[in-house]
Assembly symmetry: D2
Homo-oligomer: 345 residues x 4
Amino acid sequence: MRIGIVGASGYTGVELLRLLHCHPHAQVTYITAHTYAGKPVGEVYPHLHPYANSVFRKFSVSEALEEADFFFIALPHGEAMVAVSSLLEGDCRVCDLSADYRFSDPKTYENWYQVEHSSPKLLQEAVYGLAEINRDAIRDTRLVAVPGCYPTASILALAPVMNQIPANGTSIIIDAKSGLSGAGRALSLPTHFAQADENMKPYNVGSHRHTPEIEEVLSSLRGEKASVVFTPHLIPMNRGILATCYAKLGEGISTDAIEPLYRSCYKGSEFIVIRGEGDFPETKAVSGTNYCHIGWHFDDDSRLLIVASAIDNLVKGASGQAIQCMNIMNDWDEATGLESLGIFP
Amino acid sequence: MRIGIVGASGYTGVELLRLLHCHPHAQVTYITAHTYAGKPVGEVYPHLHPYANSVFRKFSVSEALEEADFFFIALPHGEAMVAVSSLLEGDCRVCDLSADYRFSDPKTYENWYQVEHSSPKLLQEAVYGLAEINRDAIRDTRLVAVPGCYPTASILALAPVMNQIPANGTSIIIDAKSGLSGAGRALSLPTHFAQADENMKPYNVGSHRHTPEIEEVLSSLRGEKASVVFTPHLIPMNRGILATCYAKLGEGISTDAIEPLYRSCYKGSEFIVIRGEGDFPETKAVSGTNYCHIGWHFDDDSRLLIVASAIDNLVKGASGQAIQCMNIMNDWDEATGLESLGIFP
Amino acid sequence: MRIGIVGASGYTGVELLRLLHCHPHAQVTYITAHTYAGKPVGEVYPHLHPYANSVFRKFSVSEALEEADFFFIALPHGEAMVAVSSLLEGDCRVCDLSADYRFSDPKTYENWYQVEHSSPKLLQEAVYGLAEINRDAIRDTRLVAVPGCYPTASILALAPVMNQIPANGTSIIIDAKSGLSGAGRALSLPTHFAQADENMKPYNVGSHRHTPEIEEVLSSLRGEKASVVFTPHLIPMNRGILATCYAKLGEGISTDAIEPLYRSCYKGSEFIVIRGEGDFPETKAVSGTNYCHIGWHFDDDSRLLIVASAIDNLVKGASGQAIQCMNIMNDWDEATGLESLGIFP
Amino acid sequence: MRIGIVGASGYTGVELLRLLHCHPHAQVTYITAHTYAGKPVGEVYPHLHPYANSVFRKFSVSEALEEADFFFIALPHGEAMVAVSSLLEGDCRVCDLSADYRFSDPKTYENWYQVEHSSPKLLQEAVYGLAEINRDAIRDTRLVAVPGCYPTASILALAPVMNQIPANGTSIIIDAKSGLSGAGRALSLPTHFAQADENMKPYNVGSHRHTPEIEEVLSSLRGEKASVVFTPHLIPMNRGILATCYAKLGEGISTDAIEPLYRSCYKGSEFIVIRGEGDFPETKAVSGTNYCHIGWHFDDDSRLLIVASAIDNLVKGASGQAIQCMNIMNDWDEATGLESLGIFP
């Protein structure tokens, strides 16, 4: 299959190039990047030297549709929906890594992202690309909205127990920690090495744009509105998200009942590694991979569940998950091209 | 004043040596370290080269009492209480950095540390050395139990609002992150560079020994039992603790009422820097210093307070705080020898 | 082909397991580790969860020869030669990652490693496994001595110009920098996170055991004794070696003549990426891969060549290179199982 | 003494503020920063909260001369000489941290920095501020050019042996490694956390502007032109320079003769810590301090000396050294305000 990557010079774009390099059924035939248009990929990114003869191009809908059949959109939100809607006028399928098609209601999007949605009709078609909870819908769509990195980690940690969390109870608390590649390639003081190294801090507390995304999915899983408190932190490392989640479960559930909930929910989901009670995950074990490790502790007395998940924000949190969706959309084995293990140490 | 440091070769011990080097009223005259007995301090620790002619000695009570008047005990728990109780048979005062005298009830200590307490009577005398809430008692005692690093960060974040947290409400959640110097100098796989670098994970969830210490102090501040969920994490950096705390406040309190609670509680406490609503702290701003920075976000609707504090675990979380106590015990300015600012970047 | 890994719980061992997981012609059927004998691989190393059902075993020659055809030995030097010589009494082939078979003269080995060589005859048979200079010999042997990490980086940087360095000239200087995974999994103060983080220093100056290995190979390439000054440094990162080499070239060579020497030497060596004059490599571009990037600067006046190479010490510097040798020994494409690109950022 | 800091918002500027905070004879009364003019210092830099009431101002010569007597100039090169020459028309003394007054010949400056020198007369007056070799001249001048960070480390490592290095011999090689704070606060891809973390590389090989500075000083120490090959590297840490230097000494000198050369050269220079033969320095031991640690290895046969020095690039390599010069210019103890020990670990 001929693959196009639109906006390929950001970190999720180059991660797609890295991962697709070993994919047996996909060949990248069309690569765009506004800033680097005209430059060989391997010159801008030395680690992509096998792409030495591929050149970043300016995006053109007609050229794109001629040269590729399946597209990954790795553009900033707002720009992505323009590219997606024009591509989908042609004959192709799309995985969009931006936030543009993640919400069912354009109002939610517009409130949080401060951009008017230019193709609200496509929102109806778009499928939220979290394979572990949405596999069937992904198979049948031509537009997947790939989840954000924090929502991926948070939802995977909480999905199996959403039905055990009373709707009128206290908020679910998600204390999330991310390495700095999650902030992208754009320069800023908080991501300047000398400021970020040997430093940690919360940011966007109470206002991070991944909050409504997490709430929408968790609410839909429970069938009733879920209220989430989401606190992201910057951690001085490159890749990795750890989501430590706190939720009070309903009466009657015991410690022994937790593991079966996870096993049953993730049966057949080979990228989920369930570690179990008291066996918490570490981010390094999933570095460079599409895996999500999950472990928890449940206190019978207080009925508080502490569950933590670890992912690589650029793989399971973005480009790997996008490829997982592509595999499903093509009825290929879901793990095709994503089998490699974590880089450790 | 002549100072003795017992157990001076661990990280809190050498931090005492670093900080006391510039203290105008204190002179270190007695230094012990079992493992390095006989070796010059400056040879074991190149950064302490001005101590080139000081030699680590084996601990002897009689020599100690002859050569110093005031002692810092930086021994492991269990060993510390033996040294403290024998020193206090002589004429001296002591700041103990171990956990041995932090609990009012020896049972709590024995449950969590699995050691029988050999001097329970001294527990009655010992004062918990968190100056910001215990200044007067510290002034008048001869034995200070210097708080643990996590409890220091956690209690300072929560003390001003304890009266606003209903006693029958949900648990207080403390999601704490620590750099690796907090794990000390003892070798272990989790603190091996190749394992810890570019990695993060929760550890001792539901069973960390700082939990009962935090609960005892917060309960005493509120006058009623406080239930705390404490989740520590290892973060790939050297110094720094960030405690992100979640507590549901009672009805009637508004966003504007929070800052006055903090200002009033920490009036006269110059090491507390109150940053305010939406202005969260970062650990790097306190690196190498005795300061604690505090910021928060309060949501009027859910009444959930998210408050974060940042300290240097080896200074305000251990050796700096011990010196702060020594200053108070001697009626010196509380900040003597602790005025230096953070190393940034 | 059935693969055995002897000593599989160290960093080079687990790296072999990671890389072989995706190798199409090889299946790991026999895994030993003294310390962890009896434990499932996936329990000791969470990133190897697909090996959840494989169990570390104690090494037994007879079992080994029954269950595998090709062996990687990842034991400490001294132990390795015992395992190798007993395995080679059976019908199998071996890549030894230790130093035991890297020297042609057992005396050199014994001088530097302080161990008597127990199988000097096998030294005659052993082939130094640097494919880029020794490809044909590797194809025909049953025993490959996989090069050390520093020698790999150093020799690849200098091999193409050895004939341009006058034998009676000044020493070749190799200033090498390594991440800490190169020091292995054994605990020590210099590799303790709190000591190594934010720190750098030279070590074993004038006495590092990789010096004679580099000198032997470079001498053999030139046909005359080459004298090397080798200064390794510890750098606070996990993976990566950067070898910055300084050599004074003979009269008559010009800047333009350098690149053709490199191109010609490494023609057909697909793991070598020649960057060119003024285009120096960075370690991150090769992280997790078997590639070696090389760049240089030549000053026509002083005739001093500064050439730097970057490798991943655990892949091209150890386990990847071992697999490259296995591929050659089996007439498979040299890059089989080693095609994945660098993890960036 | 009233101190003015011109260009105080860069990393050397804030380091001056940090260090002067504890200086007993100096009070910072005038602080400028173009970008942050009007903002409180403590708001821009949380670690400088005691400067909460000081406000960054726009630079004005007349105001400056009214409000301060002694100036530190922490402006970019080119801008610095304009500020210095106008200030020196008034009654004041100046330490300039830029490169503008470091060269005796304006041609050298103009060649390397591509800026015309606007006050070449002042070059005659300016004294190179490396106290350890220039103490007397510093005492008597009104204009000190504070050395660059790499030159400080390199010259301190080599000064004692310059007379032992034959003038017609091979080049001196300086392989230098620096943490990223040396690149300043300006944003760039190479200093973006995700690019710099877990990465190392040489840069500006053969063209770094510190080369002529090192050559000029070393030549002057020897009395004959010294030719230097200088290769800087970026290392993923914040503070610290390690300069590993290689020089071939003349006939007749033996290992035992090296240490006396260092002891004699640095007699009375309390910031130099001579570690000795085989005892190499590490950067962490000097972190946050004005110290320089030096160790070496000399090979009697090849007569090659490998000498390494470690400094904190922002202290001994910039702001601390500037304060050291100020102390000398005022006949205060050279170490005043610079006594604090290294932050370890």
